[in-house]
């Protein structure tokens, strides 16, 4: 067969390219999706020490309240309350107020 005829035969073959059926494409795609690696699930970060302590106290706000109370207790215990007399104007002092200057009349007859 002459070369021209052979080239013509090749050209005819290129033009007559077998096309994949829809069924084949579906099978190939199904294989692709079945074999496709799944993205690894994002690891859940382990809570830190502070987070776990806060959880033990019922959450961050509760822990904040506990800490505030603890600090307040330390301050009150450390500082001498006497120094606050200037705030109370000495009203909380230990002076004796004689509400009943004389009670003898209660025991006397008459």
């Amino acid at each position: 067969m002459p070369t021209d005829d052979l080239d013509d035969l090749f050209a005819a073959a290129r033009a007559d390219r077998p096309q994949p059926s829809d069924a084949l494409m579906q099978r190939v795609l199904a294989d692709a999706l079945a074999e496709q690696p799944r993205p690894a699930p994002r690891p859940i970060p382990r809570p830190g020490l502070l987070a776990r302590i806060a959880a033990a106290f019922g959450g961050g706000p509760a822990l904040a309240g506990v800490c505030s109370a603890a600090v307040a207790g330390l301050v009150i215990g450390y500082l001498n309350p006497v120094t606050y007399d200037y705030l109370t104007g000495g009203q909380t002092g230990t002076e004796l107020v004689d509400l009943f200057p004389a009670t003898d009349f209660l025991s006397s007859e008459g």
Binding site: D7, A12, A13, D16, P18, M25, V28, D31, A32, L33
Partner: protein, 202 residues
């Protein structure tokens, strides 16, 4: 979250990485791009046996999906790899079913044709059957080189990569393959309608 990309313009190699990362669009695009090429190639290599060619195409693609997580960028092209796998699958099938490789004219598959004329369709079917039969008569390497060069339209360097040989060896194989095909088809010229075909005089 995956960055947006244009699957139509992304390279096959980039799509392999995206596929391995779980991108479904990449799977679809690779399927559409590569499956038709492998099917057509396998059909030529298997003497026009459509069912066998579909099996080869599906198996080739399955191996492609499985190697995707280990795909090494820059080592080889996806199509080169796929042609190589398809070649091995075709040769394995031909070895195990040697008798089917020789497609007789009477068993020629009814290939679709764009020619509206029924007679022209018959002529075209006869020509394709004759080509497949002649190709089946070539040594494996010559058949592979001729199909890749003259029907699939690959360049010689691309064929060299697929066959893992030098470009000069490819040129030698295609030249010898064409000569052998001419000899095999020499007695069929009239049968195939080339005497009356005006294109034959080009």
């Amino acid at each position: 979250m995956m960055m947006a990309f244009d699957a139509d313009t992304a390279s096959d190699e980039a799509l392999m990485v995206l596929y391995a990362n779980g991108d479904r669009e990449a799977a679809l695009t690779l399927t559409r791009r590569i499956t038709p090429r492998i099917l057509a190639y396998a059909a030529r290599m298997l003497g026009g046996d459509r069912a066998e060619a579909e099996d080869v195409a599906q198996e080739t693609m399955l191996r492609l999906w499985r190697i995707a997580p280990d795909w090494r960028q820059g080592e080889t092209r996806v199509t080169t790899w796929a042609y190589r796998v398809a070649t091995n699958l075709c040769l394995d099938r031909q070895r195990s079913r040697r008798r089917k490789a020789q497609t007789a004219l009477d068993d020629a598959p009814d290939l679709p044709s764009a020619d509206p004329s029924a007679e022209a369709r018959l002529v075209q079917a006869d020509r394709m059957a004759a080509l497949h039969a002649a190709l089946a008569g070539l040594p494996d390497r010559q058949r592979q080189a001729v199909v890749l060069r003259h029907i699939e339209g690959l360049t010689n360097p691309e064929i060299a990569a697929v066959m893992e040989i030098g470009v000069e060896a490819v040129e030698s194989l295609t030249a010898r393959g064409k000569r052998a095909l001419s000899a095999l088809l020499a007695g069929r010229r009239d049968d195939l309608g080339y005497r009356d075909d005006p294109d034959a005089d080009r």
